[in-house]
Each structure stands twice: as C-alpha cells, then as structure tokens.
Amino acid sequence: MKQYETDVAIIGGGAAGLASAIEIKKGGLEPLILERDVELGGILLQCIHAGFGLTEFNTELTGPEYAQKFINNALEKQIAYKLDTMVIEITQDKKIYAVNNEEGLIEIQAKAIILAMGCRERTRGAINIPGFRPSGIYTAGQAQRFVNIEGYLPGRTYVILGSGDIGMIMARRLTWEGCNVKAVVEIQPYVSGLIRNQVQCLEDYGIPLITGFTVTKIHGKDRLKGVTVSKVDRNFDRIIGTDRFFECDTLLLSVGLIPENELTLQAGAEISSMGGPIVDNNLETTLEGVFACGNVLQVHDLVDLVSAEAKRAGQNAVKYVNERYKKKMEKKGQIICIAGENVNYVKPDRINISDLDEEIIFTFRVKKPDRRIQVQIKDETNREIYKRKKRYVIPSEMIELKLNPEKYEIDPTCSQLVLEVIPVKEPLIDEEEEE
C-alpha cells in the first residue's frame, strides 16, 4: 500500500475544499485535496446558472465560472490534489484510507483534516410516497447532472416536487431544452426558493406552482406514467377530495439537502441533531484537529458563504498544526449554543471560553418565514447579549451574524446561549437596509 504524508488533508475538492486548501497554502503549510470525482469543482460544475460570487467577486458568475476561478488559483499555488480518489476511512490518529484506480488502497497520514464532502439530496425513501417504483424518478440534482454535464434528458414531461431553488432552476432548464414541465408542487403553503427564481424560472414560462400540495401517488409500473397530487392539511396529511392527476414520464424530487455524514460519523465525530458535525467557534469538530466547512457542516444557499467559512477552517487548521498539534493543552470550558424560538439550528454548537476575545460568527436558519422580527441572543440568566431587527426571514436563507467582542460581551461564566427569532410589535424602523 502506498503511503503519503501531508500537513492538512482535505476531503472533497468542491468550493469548500478549494478555498480551505488555498488558505492553508497561504499559511505556509502543505494541503492535499482528495476528490472522488474526475475533476475539482464539486457541485458548482453542474450549477450552470448565474447567481454565484456576488460577495466574493462582486459580480454575478455561473457555478462553473466560480469554480474555475478557485481551481485556477489552486493550480497557480501548486496545491497537491488527487482525483478519482474516494476516501473510505478516517482514523483517530488522522490516518486516511482512500482508493483510486491507479494506486488501489492508499494511506495518508495528516496532522490535521478538513471535512469538505458537501451534501446529498434527500430521496424518495426519505419522504415516502406510496406506489410502485417505476423508472423515471430522480432527484433534481441528479437530473441537473444528466442535463448539464452528461448531456442527456431523463424524460420529456415532468412534475417537480419541491419549490427550492434547484427544483425551480431545473424547471426552466428543462423548458429551455424543449421539455414540458407540468407543475412544481410544494407541500408548504409558501414557495421555498428565491422570488427571483419563482419569477424567472416559473412565471416566465407559465409553469404552475402548486403550494400546499404534495405527491400522494405514483402511477406506472415500469416507467412512470403520472402522479397524483393532493392538498395537505397543517400536519401534511392528505385532504380527501383534493386529488389532481398529472400525466408525466419523470418526477424530480427537490425535497432538501442533508450534510454527507457517513465519513464524519465513521471517524467518530459527534453529529448534531440537525445533521452535520458538532463544531466549536473554530469549526473544529469533537475530534481534535478535524475541522468541517461547507455543505458537510451545514447546507448553504450561497457559495460565497461556503468560501468564507472554508477560509476560516483553513486558517484554524494552520493555527492548530502550528500551536496545538501534539501538544498537551489545558482544556478550558465551552458555552453551548441553543436554537430557540423559530430557529432550526445554530452553528457553532459550542464556543470555547478561551476564545471569547475573538469575533464569533454565528450561522442559522429559521423554521418559518416571518416579517418584522428581531434576532436576539441571550444567556441562561436571560441577559441580552445581542439583538438586531430584520424585515424579513425565510427558511431557505442561511443567516450570518458576526459578534464583535468589543461591542457584544459574552459572560465567560455563562453556560449557554440561546438564539431566538421573535416577532416585534412596534412598526419597524430599519436598522439594516436589506440587500
């Protein structure tokens, strides 16, 4: 078996892996990217639409363009990478086992590891639709790959379940390829993606968006023949007498993304209840020297935030190798971060008391859309640490908060922080202009 050594091994060569590798190289250490695909770039390569890079590059790029800029940068910096290389195991002492066609099984000894494996799509099993399992049912991301990279169409007539951005973007893409998209069906009473996509991907082409409905039956035995959709009540139970039939040969599922947890779990890192590893404010998992960033940590809607998070992971990995690797450090305590009212999850899960003099970056998502709200952070004694009013929150948008220690003081003796999103009564005077 071939053996390699590196300072920091990065698992996954998508937006997160590339940005963290560049940062590690800048910090004077040697990164090694391990990527199972035949090229670097990750999911960005199949997202050929525009809408990437507004903060990172101040212009609107397509997914492949955004990836190419990072790939070019990584190549210029002569960052080492291995393609077609699938990581299958991570050990506690930071040995990585991977397989590729040329070398078979290989072993990489790293000083630190960055998890950047991205996310996976929920599939039909995760949502449970009765009926046979004919061919013609794909996730929206699979279809996106077929159409945009491999160059074939999975069908001619479509129903798309889920009104997230990927689903809506695929509706337009397929229409442009001459297919017929009969409807986008959304179980929630509201559209889950951006208004821009609702207008430019559905309304422009007269594709009906049916909210408050879900697919309740699959028709067809070998190949899909159609789907029945029905209105649902508050508990998402089917309301009898509301069935509508759509003839279609393909059903696309765009019902959510979940962090790719398999390796993380296998390595022994603790996973939070919302998926993704538990991390502290340095993006370090519960395994010392193992960091996580990008969609493997939390599903992002903006790649710019993936890159920013990955840079932090890279910087912290450098700091770890230089200051803590193979040294006995005295452990100080941690403050637990809790998702309160209308908050689905919050990262980091923990804050190191020893880091309270540094900027703490929180990211979170709300459970339900709301207008005129206040985001606030309190500790267990109900002491208010932070508040900010916002005009508008939606679950599909990950929100980032930066807490500057000079402005917002966290008491080092507190044990937990609760982040909440609560409605405000008084008319809202904008504290912040929406972008």
């Binding site: 050929i48 491999e150 160059g151 208004i195 939606i394």
Partner: protein
C-alpha cells in the same frame, strides 16, 4: 396580463432585486402617462421600469463539444438579452457544435440573435485524451 379598467393597473411586477419581494403596480393614468407604485426603494423602481419597457434575462445553457473531456460546455451571455429573444438564442445554440479545447471566457457565438451580446464559455474544457 389582464388590464383592470377602474384602477388603471396594467401590470403587477414582483420585484426580484431583494427578498422583500415588493409588488409594484404599473398604472396608466387617463392622460396616458405610466406610473409605478408600491416599490420601497430606487432599485425596485429601476427594476420595474426595465421589466415593464424592456425585460431582459441572463441566458445560461450548454453547447455540444466535439472531442472534449466532457460532451458539453456550459455557456452564458456576456450581458443580459431581451427576454423576447431567448428562444431565438436557444435555437442558434442548439444548432452549434464547438471543438475542444475551450477556455473560460472564450467567445463561442458572437452577437447572438442580433442582441449585441456574445455567448461565452463558463469554464475550461480540455481535449479528451485517449
């Protein structure tokens, strides 16, 4: 879109510039002047005017590639084109085949559908090595 006689609203445009999603009504006054109502900020007004008088879209699609590392190259327009010309542009693209190698930013089709915009490559695409 249906026009609504009494209020004079001839079109409702949902602003897409930010997530607030203001509904902007386009009204025609009896003297024929057009008015925009319901926007919260100037960016919304600009968008609504553009969308009313000359809607534009950014076209992103793929073009078939000969002897490339992949069968398709993702492409985009280098500036937004008239919404009404999208179909013409798509037809031209569907009938085009490009030879690898390709570099990001290469102009693959000039002046698409007479729109004074070019179709450019969104990524590098090397030759397929046997």
């Amino acid at each position: 879109m249906q026009s609504c006689e009494d209020s004079g609203v001839i079109k409702t445009i949902r602003c897409i510039v930010c997530p607030t999603g203001c509904e902007i009504e386009v009204k025609e006054k009896p003297d024929g002047e057009v008015e925009f109502e319901g926007y919260t900020c100037k960016r919304g007004l600009d968008y609504a005017k553009q969308e009313f008088y000359e809607p534009k879209r950014v076209l992103t699609t793929t073009i078939r590639v000969e002897n490339g590392f992949l069968p398709l190259v993702p492409v985009r327009v280098d500036k937004a084109i008239a919404k009404a010309k999208l179909n013409d542009a798509l037809d031209i693209i569907a009938n085009t085949i490009i030879k690898a190698p390709i570099k990001m930013g290469d102009i693959l089709i000039e002046n698409i559908a007479g729109e004074d915009a070019n179709i450019i490559a969104s990524r590098d695409l090397p030759i397929l090595e046997e």
